[in-house]
Amino acid sequence: MLQYIARRIFGTIPVIILISLLVFMLVQLAPGDPADLLLSDEATPEDIAAARERWGLNQSVYVQYWKFLTAALQGDLGTSFRYADPVLLMIGDRLPATIELAFFAIIIAIVFGIPLGVWAGARPNSWVDNVGSFFGFFGISMPSFWFGIMLILVVSGFLNLLPSAGRSTYGIADDPITGFYILDSLLYWNWKAVLDGLSFIILPAIALGTNMLGILMRVTRSSVLEVMHEDLVRTARAKGLSERKVLWRHAFRNALIPIITVVGLELGTLLSGSIIVETVFSWPGSGSLLIEAINSRDYPLITGTVLAYTLMFVIINLTIDIVYAAIDPRIRFEK
């Protein structure tokens, strides 16, 4: 097992280098020029030429990539054109906000999606199934940008319950420790700040998690439905276990593989989806950072952010494969 993990980790290094190369080429080849976009409308061609020179854009792509790669291996991802800050620092600032948001979105999706799916799968075509499925379809067919605005209009606007934008109120929290606002506030025992953080995160987390909730509900339902007819469930039932125990201990446990696969996949989608939700809610995370970077063709920042995302995806995939092995010993990794 350990050997397997080590090999997997080793195997991701070429993937990351390959992606860095691809991103680097892609952003450079895509139309649009950071100097055009970042300088003011009044900038002269000379200003633009000077900026290009300063940012090293007049060198060939290969030279630029080589410089980037050698610096990156020493832990330097370059300096953002737009924000004039080291990329690594910026990602360190923004990524926790996205992870925090994604975490709450997943919690919402799991807490509602899985029980709904299990109940629906245990009793197909019952009213539980129908109501649950309705919510599931609702989640699946709801674009997050649209749902987000509806939440702002209804919950913050009409009901006036929660704030509409941002991550925190100014002047409540202490200096950050980890960058995770709610966790930091907990560490300080600052309950006011915890509540403040929660009030800001609820709406974007719902907007982000609803789609995953729907998908999770449908997948859980179908997996449980399938497992309910396998021998082990019948055996368990025959042994006289209560229906509830049969459901959660046997059926659900055996339906976990597809569920975990989907959670893993959706984590990736979730991180990408955060780009839109963060924009709608002005959430200062790495998703909105990436979109700003793309919109200003901030090459170092795009590359850095994409690499950070890549690293997360890779870690997620690895974790999921390990979880597979842990819950289903039938999977063998060597032929």
């Binding site: 895509a30 139309p31 649009g32 020029d33 055009d36 976009l37 970042l38 300088l39 003011s40 409308d41 009044e42 900038a43 002269t44 061609p45 000379e46 200003d47 000077a50 900026a51 300063r54 737009r82 924000y83 004039a84 800050d85 600032d93 923004r94 605005i149 702002i152 209009l153 913050s156 606007g157 006036n160 704030p163 509409s164 934008a165 941002g166 991550r167 925190s168 100014y170 924009t279 709608v280 809610f281 002005s282 200062p284 909105s288 950072l289 700003e292 793309i294 919109n295 200003s296 063709r297």
Partner: protein, 511 residues
């Protein structure tokens, strides 16, 4: 539009000093906090690291700048500079006289000419500077004495103050020398403006706190000014109506009703200094034919669009610029007006044998007020005069890169920050200004050059209008309108927005 507190007559200073004194003595409501929902934000701690309008405003209130354009009087007013003059013999030499006795936040260091010279130098040489264009006309800046700075331009530049006033942030030379640029910006953001910088969370908010001892700080203005990033229009409206924010920037026309119908907030329009136009590059076929360009200008029902899509929140442009902008002349503008005349346009197209010509209009999406909707509605108008028109909506960076390289024949675009039209028109219509429109006319070139070298305002305005008339004759662009920018203002504060989009704390009065 009144800029009461940043007015720089000696009496005003005395008055505001008095008011400030009063504010310290009397226990005024301790926390007067005004939050602003903004669409754009500063992206850097470096005061020279942005070139957005709102950013200039924020930094000028923190660090201070030499002066600003006052829309109420249509003239420039000094801030850190008490007065200024152009050398009578050599129009390249400008002298700025700094106000004496200005004390910096926290450490109380006095403003000197060394700081101003340093700021010019830093804007030009800082690797992160995004304001080099503002000092491009400056050949050198030198300290004459402790409070006098002499600026020498490369060529006589009549609109120099447009570049040097509220776009040049004056930062402390001593802090830069001692701490280096990074720490100076982050740890010692001290200046001579009425507000201290309290917090920047890039992408989320900027918090300013009033410096009570500052000569421009008045009792009425908010103690805390929070600029919050809110990119969605619905969000700004919602937050305003919830009193989460007190000032909401840029309300799109179709949401105006939500604010004007609400009891807690008012809708305040301001004219903008952004010109919206359709560019038609004569470099490309079929746009090299002036008949086509003119026919297109006749074909667009500007009043209809303003009414139906912009909900009357725009001012039609008859001339290249409109009221309030430098050099606007109503009489000259009336002569340049192009009427909406489908029959005429159709006839022009038919006579020129252009019927069925394919044209593709490119538009940004979501960059200007209802840009896509506006251009969508132009397509049937172009079809009505016999053109085979389609709409293209490329992603902004792609479109902008191609426009800047002169690769887009026909596009809808805006040019912001046009207070004095000189830089914008040189950029778009002078040969070698930029490849954006690809227009070149010896006559326009000579007029624009002459205008820049003319220092007498009346004579200069006349030449500007001659240049406009020449441009309108050739029609490389149809000038459409200037959007009225709508602000939502809570009834708890009094504020009149300015056309430049800068928000001055000194203009806000908390009720």
């Amino acid at each position: 539009m009144r800029k009461i507190s940043i007015r720089v007559s000696t009496t005003a200073i005395a008055v505001s000093a008095l008011l400030t004194g009063a504010a310290i003595v009397s226990p005024v409501s301790a926390q007067k906090r005004v939050a602003i929902g903004a669409t754009e934000t500063i992206s850097s701690h470096n005061p020279h690291g942005d070139s957005i309008s709102m950013g200039y405003g924020i930094w000028c209130q923190v660090y201070g700048c030499l002066g600003y354009f006052d829309f109420a009087s249509g003239s420039y007013k000094g801030m850190l500079a008490e007065r200024w003059e152009v050398d009578a013999k050599d129009p390249n030499v400008w002298t700025f006289f700094l106000r004496k006795g200005l004390k910096r936040h926290n450490d109380g260091k006095e403003l000197t000419s060394a700081d101003v010279v340093h700021s010019f130098w830093r804007m030009k040489n800082d690797k992160q500077s995004r304001q080099t264009q503002n000092v491009k006309h400056v050949a050198k800046a030198e300290a004459v004495d402790k409070y006098t700075v002499r600026v020498t331009t490369k060529k006589p530049t009549a609109p120099l103050l447009e570049f040097l006033f509220d776009r040049v942030m004056i930062t402390g030379k001593d802090l830069y020398d001692k701490h280096g640029p990074r720490d100076a910006d982050r740890k010692f953001p001290l200046g001579w403006g009425p507000y201290k910088l309290k917090q920047i969370v890039i992408g989320q908010r900027i918090v300013l706190e009033k410096d009570e001892t500052n000569p421009w700080a008045t009792a009425g203005m908010p103690n805390e000014l929070i600029f919050r990033v809110m990119r969605e229009a619905e969000q700004r409206v919602t937050a305003l109506l919830n009193n989460e924010i007190q000032i909401a920037q840029f309300i799109p026309p179709h949401l105006a009703g939500r604010i004007s119908n609400a009891s807690g907030a008012d809708l305040v329009p301001t004219s903008s200094v952004e010109l919206m136009f359709l560019a038609m590059s004569p470099k490309f076929k079929p746009w090299d034919n002036p008949v086509l360009r003119k026919a297109v200008c006749h074909a667009i029902n500007r009043d209809g669009i303003i009414k139906a899509i912009l909900k009357d929140q725009a001012q039609r442009l008859d001339a290249p610029i409109g009221p309030g902008q430098y050099g606007y002349d109503p009489k000259a503008a009336a002569a340049m007006k192009i009427d909406f005349n489908v029959a005429k346009a159709k006839e022009m197209i038919e006579k020129a044998g252009l019927k069925g010509t394919k044209v593709a209009l490119s538009t940004p999406v979501g960059r200007y007020v209802n840009d896509k909707q506006v251009t969508e509605s132009m397509i049937p108008m172009l079809k009505a005069i016999g053109l085979d028109a389609t709409l293209k909506t490329p992603e902004w960076p792609t479109l902008w890169a191609n426009v800047q390289k002169g690769k887009v024949p026909f596009y809808y675009m805006g040019r912001g920050g046009v207070v004095d039209p000189s830089p914008a028109f040189a950029q778009y219509f002078e040969t070698g200004g930029s490849p954006r429109i690809g227009f070149s006319s010896a006559k326009v070139d000579s007029l624009l050059q002459k205008e820049r070298a003319t220092f007498d305002p009346e004579a200069r305005k006349k030449i500007i209008n001659e240049a406009f008339a020449e441009i309108v004759k050739e029609q490389p662009a149809c000038f459409m309108w200037r959007h009225k920018l709508l602000y939502g203002i809570s009834k708890k504060v009094a504020y009149t927005p300015t056309p430049t989009g800068r928000i001055w704390g000194s203009d806000i009065v908390v009720k």
